[in-house]
């Protein structure tokens, strides 16, 4: 089962990553009639303030383990196939991709539900922390928005 979990400290092109991952699947790709993608991108505003820069801190080692655990548990629940998760760390500017999730399955439900399950759990369980710069200065983001 192909799976890639990758943390990147430089900007990445989610569309190029999707193409590359899909190509790597080769003939296995023919077993999956559905694929679902989620791309999270850095916004230029948060809680009513313009945001110019975002920093993503993480817990090296635990982050990768948590993402793998989340994928495993969601795969057990839904039975999807290959999985790709790429997440940024370090310094970001508005418009840059923060996270890419892609799941493949024989039929649409496992890929769609799995993608939502993985992103929601990643936001609550994977050890990442955002700090942002606004015109008022720098601040830690206290919590994620609801959906």
């Amino acid at each position: 089962m192909m799976q890639l979990i990758s943390l990147r400290d430089h900007p990445f092109d989610p569309y190029a990553e999707l193409s590359a991952f899909s190509a790597q699947l080769g003939e296995e790709r023919h077993r999956y009639g559905a694929e679902s993608h989620f791309i999270g991108t850095m916004r230029s505003f948060n809680e009513g303030d313009a945001v110019s820069t975002l920093w993503l801190e993480h817990y090296p080692g635990m982050t990768e383990r948590e993402i793998a655990r989340i994928i495993d548990e969601e795969r057990t629940r839904l039975n999807f196939g290959p999985a790709l998760v790429i997440h940024r760390i370090g310094k970001l500017e508005p418009g840059e991709a923060i996270v890419l999730i892609a799941l493949f399955s024989a039929h649409r439900r496992a890929a769609l539900d799995g993608t939502q399950g993985v992103i929601e759990r990643l936001k609550h369980e994977a050890p990442f922390w955002k700090k942002e710069r606004t015109s008022e200065g720098e601040r830690w983001v206290a919590s994620n928005t609801n959906g």
């Binding site: 801190e57 993480h58 830690w140 206290a142």
Partner: protein, 77 residues
């Protein structure tokens, strides 16, 4: 052998340190450990913890050689 402590994000800034090592003697749980680290104060609800890189709770046992991390609610994705 000691217990290795790691702090992240706003908690790292509040505590003024990234890592430290604590003698494990007399420490049974994460909650015990926090009291030693924070001048006897109890572990606040808003502080989360992990033992050996897995999510934990205040009652999770800790032992010599463990890595224990403290951090605020996570905000990735």
């Amino acid at each position: 052998m000691a217990i290795r402590i790691r702090y992240f994000a706003s908690l790292r800034e509040t505590m003024g340190r990234t890592t430290e090592d604590i003698n494990a003697e007399g420490i049974a749980t994460v909650a015990d450990l926090w009291k030693v680290l924070d001048e006897g104060r109890p572990l606040p609800d808003r502080v989360l913890c992990a033992v050996n890189q897995e999510h934990a709770t205040p009652t999770t046992p800790v032992h010599e050689g463990d890595e224990v991390a403290f951090f605020p609610p996570v905000t990735g994705g």
